[in-house]
């Protein structure tokens, strides 16, 4: 296992300790537990608070988006594992600014059950909680309600966070998160597995010349294992699959994200972006903003995902709104 770490058991707490030290001006933690990350200035009184959470190993997702204009708090679990209901409750208490809390997180079994428990407990403390599940991974299930959440969640954080920062009500912030997510689709592919530190071996095996289309960010098998294709073909197929699920036509305005899963260099991501850009532009679709880089990763997995976000005027303005977190700055 080629990793720079100390005892694998301390991987997450040491990572969090380092991160809190590096970003003490922006981040703090609640309840004496470094897994309960909150904005340094939490609670922001009179603002709807946004929280997320999930397993570690996906930086910048999830905690990397805690900061001004995006999220107020994040409960951090062990690698690829949900945080506990207690930790989520701790974050919820600390960020609540009197106007309620919106949970936005990925549709994974453990997370859903724990966040549900946390929401039940929070409501017993008179904190109103709304839950918005991210289910943007188009190929993970035919039933849109059963899909898992991947990189597209960043756009939801961005728009809902902007709405909350602008003084939106609990209803309004929840509605923006839902409307954004209704217009967000992602598809991913992987070339190599990653290694969970405490497991110590790759999450799956794959041939030296193979790729897996539709691979999940925890190494969940995708829709097809096949020989490695050229970047243009990969880009085309991901875009086609997404557009079959999210109809887009000439005159539409979109944001595009080409996201690296960890080991894939930005150079390769730009080669993928190039093809996506050319195809969309050729169809008369306007690219309002392009995001190319690592936004939601799987440790050292090689591969990428493509996210399309169809915008209306309000969503575009919310996406453009400034934000500042340790991993995401937009001016």
């Amino acid at each position: 296992m080629k990793k720079i770490l100390n005892d694998p058991k301390n991987f997450v707490p040491e990572m969090l300790d380092g991160l809190l030290k590096a970003h003490a001006d922006q981040l703090s933690y609640a309840g004496g537990d470094v897994h309960c990350i909150v904005r340094a200035d939490a609670p922001v009184q009179g603002k709807v608070a946004l929280a997320t959470g999930g397993g570690s190993g996906h930086l910048p997702v999830f905690l990397g988006y805690v900061g001004k204009g995006m999220l107020d708090g994040c409960a951090v679990g062990d690698v690829f594992q949900s945080p506990s209901a207690e930790q989520m409750l701790e974050v919820t208490r600390r960020i609540h600014g009197g106007k309620g809390v919106v949970y936005i997180y990925g549709n994974y079994g453990g997370d859903v059950m724990n966040f549900d428990m946390a929401a039940e407990m929070a409501s017993m403390e008179d904190i109103e909680v709304r839950t918005v599940l991210v289910k943007d991974d188009v190929v993970s299930n035919k039933d849109p309600e059963k899909r898992r959440g991947v990189a597209g969640m960043v756009f939801a954080f961005k728009c809902a966070g902007a709405k909350a920062d602008q003084g939106g009500s609990l209803d309004e912030v929840e509605a923006i998160a839902r409307r954004a997510l209704a217009n967000i689709r992602t598809m991913g592919m992987a070339l190599t597995p990653c290694i969970v530190p405490q497991v110590g071996k790759p999450t799956f095996t794959i041939g030296e010349d193979e790729m897996e289309m539709g691979m999940g960010i925890h190494g969940e098998p995708g829709i097809s294992r096949e020989s490695l294709k050229p970047a243009n073909e990969i880009a085309e197929r991901m875009l086609k699959t997404i557009r079959e699920d999210l109809p887009t036509a000439s005159g539409d305005r979109v944001a595009v994200m080409v996201n690296g899963l960890g080991a894939t260099p930005p150079e390769e991501l730009y080669i993928v972006y190039r093809r996506v850009h050319d195809l969309l532009t050729a169809d008369g679709i306007k690219i309002h903003r392009a995001y190319v880089g690592e936004f939601a990763t799987s440790m050292e997995m090689a591969g990428c995902s493509l996210t399309l976000f169809k915008l209306d005027d309000e969503l575009a303005a919310l996406l453009d709104y400034p934000a500042r977190t340790p991993f995401f700055v937009q001016v």
């Binding site: 207690e86 079994g109 497991v199 190494g219 969940e220 098998p221």
Partner: protein, 207 residues
């Protein structure tokens, strides 16, 4: 009649079994999920072992003992299965609230409460290829045997046997919930790790 002393021993055995199962569960989960079931269960197992460290007195409240075990288990293992098993412990605790002694019918009610708790928390059905495919028939077999007045040993054997049959009957099925459901048809023909866990845990608890 069972007291909290027996419950403590049973939880300890369960905890040790979870440690033993680490690699096997990781492998089974890797084949159709994210390969961490052994990891989270061994953490839960460690929490149970630590939790059952202190002595208990035969007159202690069994319900409270089980509920608090559930909270400790969730803290240590907040994964899907960890949360389901924590819920099971908490529901058993709720069912046994105030009791210091349990007879066979009370034991059956506990197992039923655990099964219902897992169903409500996870919203899965029989045939979805989850732990429930082993647990529901096991719970039913146990309750039926107790109702028929069978001795506890025999009822326990019937329960474990029903769990085994449920586990094996789920092999050809396709996973319909949780991470494994994303794998789709490739789960057909494979053992569901949750059903394996169920069989092993029931064996450990009743041995």
């Amino acid at each position: 009649m069972f007291t909290v002393v027996h419950v403590r021993e049973a939880l300890r055995r369960a905890g040790e079994k979870l440690l033993d199962l680490r690699d096997r569960l990781n492998e089974l989960d890797a084949a159709m999920g994210d390969g961490d079931l052994g990891l989270s269960m061994s953490k839960g197992g460690e929490a149970l072992i630590e939790y059952t460290e202190p002595e208990v007195s035969p007159g202690d409240d069994i319900g409270k003992y089980l509920s608090t075990a559930g909270i400790a288990f969730n803290r240590a293992a907040p994964s899907t299965m960890g949360t389901l098993l924590a819920t099971a412990l908490m529901r058993m605790g709720k069912e046994a609230k105030g009791a210091t002694h349990l007879d066979a019918p009370a034991l059956a009610r506990l197992i039923e409460a655990a099964t219902t708790g897992i169903q409500e928390r996870g919203k899965a059905k029989l045939g979805d290829k989850t732990i429930l495919d082993a647990l529901i028939p096991a719970s039913q077999a146990f309750s039926a045997a107790i109702q028929q007045g069978q001795p506890l040993q025999q009822a326990a054997r019937a329960m474990v046997e029903a769990a085994r049959q449920g586990r094996d009957a789920a092999i050809p099925l396709r996973s319909n919930v949780g991470r494994a459901s994303w794998v789709g048809e490739r789960t057909e023909g494979k053992l569901d790790p949750g059903t394996v866990l169920c069989v092993e845990l029931l064996e450990a608890l009743t041995s």
